[in-house]
Amino acid sequence: PHIRTFNEEFQTCAVQGAWPLIDNQYLYIQATSTPTRGSSYITILTKITVILKNWRECAELQIYQAELDNVPPAFVDGSVTGGDRRGHQSLRVHSHDPGRHAEIWATHIGTMIVVRQVGRSLSLSVRSPRAIVESYTPEQDLQLCVWGCPVSQRMETPYVHPSTPAYTHCSSLLPVQDVYFQACLFDLQVTGDLNSSASAVAALEDARAMISNPDRVHLLTGRA
């Protein structure tokens, strides 16, 4: 997967298997990457698990799980709300497109999580207050959203000549040559499928919706 971290770093990561994206006192999110299309090193996200931890009077533990071709509009116990304490529900799941999109709100930690299926892969976007993101102990030391991808697992984005169809296609969808544009080029080069650009476009839309300062949406790093 491509990762835009909480620290505004951007990496393309070759990790396989289940990896924690976020692991703090309130929230645990894990994503499973699986090799695809006959390649041993190109992976897609096939499963995302969100555990909203029990928190005092505000929320009881609740679990959300999405798999490829099954992004449910509810928690694993079938409910669409949770944390029903003191007459207030802190947790809520909502969907614009059941089966392919879910929005999870946790008001007691001011956090919004969006899970999507775009093409043949899942994606995740999270908006969370700094104090919540930083509420981890030294033992919670594996979090791709916080520390980024392990150095040994990072992949170089390939140079793509402007005259190629991939470049033209990504430019038409993503006019700003930022990290989302780079991700689009990468995915098109790897898959050879123009439809794979939808993932970067959706990730940019989520970033626009979640980042209040428009100047910070288009992250420019490395080749971008």
């Binding site: 997967p1 491509h2 990762i3 835009r4 971290t5 909480f6 393309t12 976020i22 006192q25 994503a31 897609i44 996200l45 928190w55 005092r56 009077e57 505000c58 944390g83 003191r86 207030h88 802190s90 008001t107 007691h108 001011g110 956090t111 775009v118 093409g119 043949r120 892969s121 994606s123 995740l124 976007s125 999270v126 908006r127 969370s128 207050p129 700094r130 104090a131 919540i132 993101v133 930083e134 509420s135 102990t137 030294p138 033992e139 030391d141 594996l142 791709l144 990468f186 995915d187 898959t191 499928d193 794979s196 939808a198 993932s199 970067a200 959706a202 990730a203 989520d206 970033a207 980042i211």
Partner: protein
Amino acid sequence: CRILQCNSDFVAATLEIGVIGGGGKDGANAVYCSALRSYALCTQRTARACRGDLAYHSAVQGIEDLLIQHRCPQTGPTAQPRPLPKPPLSGNGCFYEKGFMQKEGRAPEYLHCGVFGD
């Protein structure tokens, strides 16, 4: 790998008790041993992530040497663990943003993470 956190926790603990090097008195030595055992526990917790880290292996060896040098028992009390990060909520508020604004007079700083690709 969070070995630097273990190192700084140990340095902070020894500075607090003023016994860098262990001191000579029995009481000071007992406190120093307690700090060393906490240091050892901290390294154990981060062992998986620090598998290939030279600073980690150096710390583990150093702790073993110091435990022997100061004749510290393998088991015994450990220093108080580092306090957990302050909970963001206070009073009866289950609305983080509302509670934060009441307390700080401004909206919280939000961070964004995106994981995607096809």
